[in-house]
């Protein structure tokens, strides 16, 4: 790229010129390197999985995989917003646990009670998130520590509500997970709804403000962003998504568990980062996170069809994950070299 000299001439002619075709294409490629690598990786994993097992390319498989991925996907959506803000949310583990035990113990058999508690659980997620954001912004504390403590508190409350796995959910509630329209299960429709939400949300001023605060806090403040508001909004969204994740989870498991949320905390971060969301804020998006979540689901599927012994499963998936991260980091570095030129 001999950009610098040429551009200077552009500047002297003082007209706005669009970048040329090839270089623009190249630039797009470089700008979104880690996202594209994640996509390639997902395609690769699906191909390998497809060659090992019959019937992978079917609606049925899509329905199954999406259902398997949906809880993590909902939780990771919230995490993505917080990561864009440059924070991290560990409390989603507590919110998910508390959500499932509340649902399993309070829903009863009346649809009205269930609806009421569904509303309460979502409100709980939203308020916990808003509290996280308020504490982080006003007291200027580390998000890691603040959300770690709210996670601990919520986990404790979940154990008080229901000390061991159990409880039950109304049979009608669990039908939601199995329902399907036009051959696509409820989880796939949820995925579509999530994508539509993102298409809208990413263009709102709120999302820009959150992204800007994560990209450069001081600049965002100087531009007129209220940092308190962007923190509260980001963590409240994350809490709400975590609550939705817990509700979805109960449609799959049919029980409540005071510890089940803990297994989701780090995978949400991992999925987002694999999909190209930066841990330092400002960069990435939900589509990347969705790809990341499906990569993790596919790794799970692969380990399953390869009939790896259950003791070795975490080791194998860990190694595959490491390779995935390595590939995207190599691509990112080469892209950076190209762009710095």
């Amino acid at each position: 790229m001999k950009a610098s000299v040429l551009e200077d001439e552009d500047r002297n002619t003082r007209e706005v010129r669009a970048p040329r075709g090839t270089s623009r294409w190249r630039k797009q490629l470089d700008e979104r390197a880690s996202f594209l690598v994640a996509c390639a990786l997902l395609i690769g994993l699906v191909a390998v999985y497809g060659s090992l097992r019959k019937g992978v390319f079917s609606f049925e498989e899509l329905n199954l995989d999406t259902a398997a991925a949906m809880t993590l996907l909902l939780a990771a959506s919230g995490q993505t917003v917080v990561l864009l803000r440059g924070g991290i949310d560990l409390s989603i583990g507590g919110i998910i646990s508390l959500g499932t035990v509340l649902a399993a113990t309070r829903f009863g058999h009346h649809p009205q009670t269930a609806a009421f508690w569904t509303f309460l659980i979502i409100a709980m997620g939203l308020l916990v998130g808003a509290a996280n954001g308020l504490i982080i912004a006003v007291l200027e504390l580390q998000p890691f520590l603040v959300t770690l403590t709210t996670w601990a508190i919520l986990s404790g409350v979940a154990l008080i509500v229901l000390p061991t796995d159990g409880g039950s959910l109304p049979p009608g509630w669990m039908k939601f997970g199995a329902a399907s329209w036009f051959g696509l299960s409820s989880s796939v429709w949820l995925l579509i709804a999530l994508l539509l939400f993102w298409c809208w949300f990413r263009k709102t001023r709120l999302c820009l403000a959150i992204r800007a605060s994560g990209s450069n806090e001081r600049s965002a403040y100087l531009s007129g962003v209220s940092l308190i508001f962007s923190d509260v909004a980001a963590y409240a969204l994350s809490g709400t998504f975590a609550a939705l994740a817990s509700l979805y989870l109960t449609t799959q498991t049919g029980t409540g568990s005071p510890t089940i949320g803990n297994g989701y905390i780090l995978p949400t971060v991992a999925a987002a980062v694999i999909g190209g969301v930066s841990l330092f804020g400002g960069r990435g998006g939900l589509v990347g996170t969705i790809v990341g979540v499906f990569i993790m689901t596919m790794i799970g599927n692969l380990v399953f069809v390869l009939s790896v012994s259950s003791y070795w499963q975490p080791v194998v998936s860990g190694v595959i994950l490491l390779l995935a991260v390595l590939a995207s980091s190599i691509a990112e570095k080469s892209a950076k070299r190209n762009l710095l030129a």
């Binding site: 790229m1 000299v5 002619t13 007209e15 403040y221 531009s223 209220s226 400002g282 030129a341």
Partner: protein, 498 residues
């Protein structure tokens, strides 16, 4: 008509007084320059005006009515927009997203419309005849001067009544600077108040109607531009008369070649660069923005890759990364363009910054000998006259003192080839004088100095010899009496004549 009246403005940080009872009166339709040394309180004052920091005391009146400037939003709605030296851009957002950030055109669903955003940006560029900027590019990919243009566009997009330009020309190239200066005049003629800060007296003379001078955290004088000569202005800024800015030019070049470059080429725009830098010589590098000076410095420092041969003190070397160069007396040291991000760790102390690249000089087996380190730091703080305590965070220093810390860090590496990329950018005259004297002293001690400055006048007065870049190659060398502004300018723009 008086538009802005600020009085009794004070601000303290801990024990340090940044502003004490400063006042300012600005009128509609005037370009009002704020002058003063670094650390005189200008920056604090305009940051208060823009709502970026809250004053301890102060009364602000717009058109006679008191206003509150508690945060950037309140200042914006009062019609004040600022182009800060510390840019307020979001690195991960595009040019147009940055310009219209917080007041984007919205659709019915509350979403930002990309097409409307583009159109608004193009209209804005056309209205103010902006030098071309590529839309759709993320700001972190832009050069410093492009970022500066975006920052200016962003301020103009608010259509402010009061526009603050803080060192806005310091990163711009010649043509862009001229454009900005004439735009400044135009904006004033349309009834706005422009508060203009620059360390280049020539520019101030060209645009300003009135000046207010700051010294030691307060406003000390205000007069109409045409009623004051340069000597009075400088004397008011310094609080004393200054002997001379530029040290006497005593060439100390020896025949020994310190840095020899042959056929240096790179994909970033260098084409067949040949250059000899002698021991004890100050070699100036001139060129319009983007004609290869920056690339030369980068490839010499191992930041970017170039083909060709480079010899240091007669020994051929391959440069892959800055680390290859840092150590020892045969090394190269750099004063980078962007002092806040590349030159210093702002949150670290003066001591840590000074010894960052030379920690090997005071450590053994991986342990730092803190007494030896303290001695090195003390010596450097004293000899460079750095006005700060060793444990003070570098970010709290004034621009001039920060630059001195960078010089100190560079000198501690013991390298005797120094690359100085625009070392006086945004620095007050007092410190400038000290830096030029230091360069002269170093050259007499046998240091070889490659010196780029965006200010031609500096090159002419400081460099023994000037190499002019155009389109990635050295098109001309001037020596002795041939080093004049006229000659250099001609060589720089020669390409367009042809």
């Amino acid at each position: 008509m008086e538009l802005l009246n600020a009085s009794g403005v004070s601000k303290r940080y801990g024990g340090i007084t940044a502003l004490a009872n400063a006042s300012f009166q600005g009128h509609m339709g005037e370009v009002h320059a704020l002058l003063g040394e670094n650390g005189a309180g200008k920056s604090t004052f305009i940051q208060i005006l823009a709502g970026a920091i809250r004053p301890d005391a102060g009364l602000f009146k717009l058109n006679g009515a008191p206003v509150r400037l508690g945060n950037p939003r309140q200042a914006q709605s009062a019609g004040i927009a600022a182009v800060f030296q510390e840019l307020s851009l979001i690195p991960d957002m595009t040019v147009e997203e940055n310009i219209w950030f917080r007041h984007e055109p919205l659709s019915l669903f509350g979403t930002v419309k990309a097409a409307a955003l583009r159109k608004a940006t193009l209209d804005l560029f056309r209205q103010y005849k902006f030098p071309s900027l590529l839309l759709g590019r993320e700001v972190r990919r832009l050069t410093l001067s492009e970022k500066q243009l975006v920052e200016i566009a962003k301020a103009l997009s608010h259509n402010p009544r009061i526009l603050i330009l803080d060192e806005a020309t310091s990163t711009l190239a010649l043509q862009e600077t001229q454009w900005l200066l004439s735009l400044t005049r135009q904006l004033a003629e349309s009834g706005r108040l422009i508060i203009f800060i620059s360390h280049r007296l020539g520019e101030v003379r060209q645009v300003a109607d009135r000046i207010t001078i700051f010294r030691n955290g307060t406003s000390v004088a205000a007069y109409d531009m045409d009623k004051a000569d340069d000597d009075t202005i400088v004397a008011d800024m310094l609080g004393r008369r200054m002997d001379r800015l530029y040290p006497e030019r005593v060439p100390a070049a020896l025949p020994n070649i310190a840095l020899k470059i042959r056929k240096l080429e790179s994909e970033q725009g260098l084409a067949d660069v040949n250059l000899d830098l002698h021991e004890g010589e100050i070699l100036g590098v001139a060129g319009l923005y983007g004609h290869g000076q920056r690339e030369l410095f980068h490839s010499l420092y191992g930041i970017s890759h170039a083909r060709g041969t480079i010899e240091l003190w007669g020994r051929r070397v391959t440069l892959r990364s800055p680390r290859d160069l840092l150590t020892g007396k045969d090394g190269i040291a750099l004063v980078p363009e962007d002092r806040a991000t590349h030159g210093l760790l702002l949150s670290k102390s003066v001591r840590e910054n000074l010894t960052l690249s030379a920690i090997y000089r005071c450590s053994r087996f991986g342990f730092t000998n803190s007494r030896r380190e303290a001695a090195l730091v003390r010596a450097m703080v004293e000899s460079l006259n750095i006005k700060a305590a060793p444990e003070q965070p570098a970010g709290t220093l004034s621009g001039g003192n920060q630059q001195k810390v960078i010089f100190g860090k560079m000198l501690l590496t013991e390298a005797r080839i120094l690359l100085l990329y625009d070392p006086t950018r945004g620095i007050d005259v007092g410190t400038k004088g000290e830096i030029f004297q230091l360069m002269r002293d170093l050259s007499r001690k046998g240091y070889a100095i490659l010196f780029y400055s965006s200010d031609l006048v500096e090159l002419i007065h400081v460099a023994d010899r000037v190499a002019v870049f155009s389109a990635g190659r050295i098109v001309k060398n001037f020596e002795g009496d041939a080093v004049t502004e006229h000659h250099i300018l001609r060589a720089m723009i020669q390409k367009w004549d042809a």
